[in-house]
């Protein structure tokens, strides 16, 4: 197993253990998962809408967008996946893709067969529970995303997004919440925040001239975290990061 492969699995375990308790054996089983490294070019979809998949894609490097699109081809990104995220963990139990996955920049994924994920989940209830809770966290972030694009102003939407990604990158050990990589185009940022390209450009300009945050050369730099949080109407609770939950079997 090469360095990229094991580093990605370690990040995935790190994400899981931020919300769930795993013992040594369980962590070992996850770190030993097989997978195939795949490079995906920028702006290439690697899971199509409605595709029947038999593997999950763990993001190793780059940035992935989960999206849906309407019949006119307009795209809505519903989730951004950073290194250490298993982009389509729900597909283990629901293999027909209800959404599509696309690389937003040059991206490397580790394709892990469903069969292997099912095996480790079946052998270790703690892993099954951690997977379950990861999907719940995903769902919680997704419902906040809907509030974001449904009810917030353009400025708030982008501010909120920068806050959330800052915390997620910090958790994944990629920079800290005030400075982290985000290799995204304005078009894709627009598809995420349900804004046009020009509106994103204009809004970023406002955030920059107010010295709150700037996105330059694929890096987000937050000059004033408090003002960004306020602008984004951001409250961290929905990210479910207040410490790992006790195991179901312990609580029962």
């Amino acid at each position: 197993m090469d360095h990229e492969h094991s580093a990605a699995l370690e990040l995935f375990v790190k994400r899981l253990t931020s919300r769930s308790v795993l013992n040594e054996e369980e962590m070992g089983a996850l770190l030993g998962l097989n997978g195939q490294i795949k490079q995906v070019a920028a702006h290439t979809d690697f899971v199509q809408l409605g595709e029947q998949v038999d593997h999950c894609c763990l993001v190793v490097a780059g940035l992935v967008g989960r999206f849906g699109q309407n019949r006119d081809g307009a795209r809505q990104i519903t989730c951004l996946h950073i290194p250490g995220d298993m982009a389509d963990l729900p597909s283990v139990v629901s293999p027909k893709a209800g959404w599509a996955l696309g690389a937003l920049t040059t991206t490397t994924v580790l394709r892990i067969p469903h069969a292997d994920l099912r095996r480790v989940a079946a052998q270790h209830f703690g892993i099954a529970e951690a997977f379950w809770r990861d999907c719940v966290a995903d769902g919680s972030m997704f419902s906040e995303w809907v509030v974001n694009v449904g009810r917030r102003s353009a400025l708030s939407r982008l501010a909120h997004l920068f806050c959330e990604l800052g915390i997620r990158c910090e958790q994944a050990g990629m920079g800290d919440r005030r400075s982290y990589p985000l290799p995204i185009t304005q078009t894709d940022l627009g598809d995420a925040a349900a804004l046009t390209n020009v509106h994103v450009n204009r809004t970023l300009r406002q955030l920059r001239t107010q010295s709150i945050v700037e996105l330059r050369a694929g890096t987000v730099t937050i000059h004033d975290w408090e003002r960004l949080v306020s602008a984004g109407d951001f409250e961290e609770a929905y990210m479910l990061l207040d410490g790992p939950s006790p195991r179901i079997t312990d609580a029962a």
Partner: protein
């Protein structure tokens, strides 16, 4: 080009590319923001906002031709005008300038061009 295609300088209804031009694209590669990467001879167009806040476009977008860029600019003008209206103001002279990558201005679309205002 069908009869529904817009006169370049004034659009009455509909600003999107016509459905017939969409049909030729495989569904899986479409996007907003059409993913037209498989077409040859794409060019990069820049959409600069000349507004209460001048905002240059540093990224640009690859589109098939100027007509496509023009339709896109009309869509953008309407979008920015809507955002201004939500804040209770509207200046129909505000505009989007379309430039190529040499910095040459290819077309200008004002809010007035993009919106049929009647009173």
């Amino acid at each position: 080009m069908g009869s529904r295609e817009a006169c370049p300088h004034r659009l009455k209804v509909g600003g999107k590319l016509s459905r017939s031009s969409m049909r030729s694209l495989p569904r899986s590669t479409s996007g907003t923001t059409l993913r037209l990467g498989h077409l040859r001879n794409m060019a990069r167009f820049y959409f600069h906002i000349i507004n209460d806040l001048d905002v240059p476009d540093d990224e640009g977008q690859e589109l098939a031709n100027l007509a496509a860029a023009h339709l896109r600019a009309i869509d953008y003008a309407r979008d920015l005008a809507s955002a201004a209206v939500r804040q209770g103001r509207l200046d129909l002279k505000h505009r989007i300038d379309i430039e190529d990558d040499t910095g040459k201005v290819l077309a200008k679309v004002t809010f007035a061009d993009a919106i049929d205002v009647s009173n």
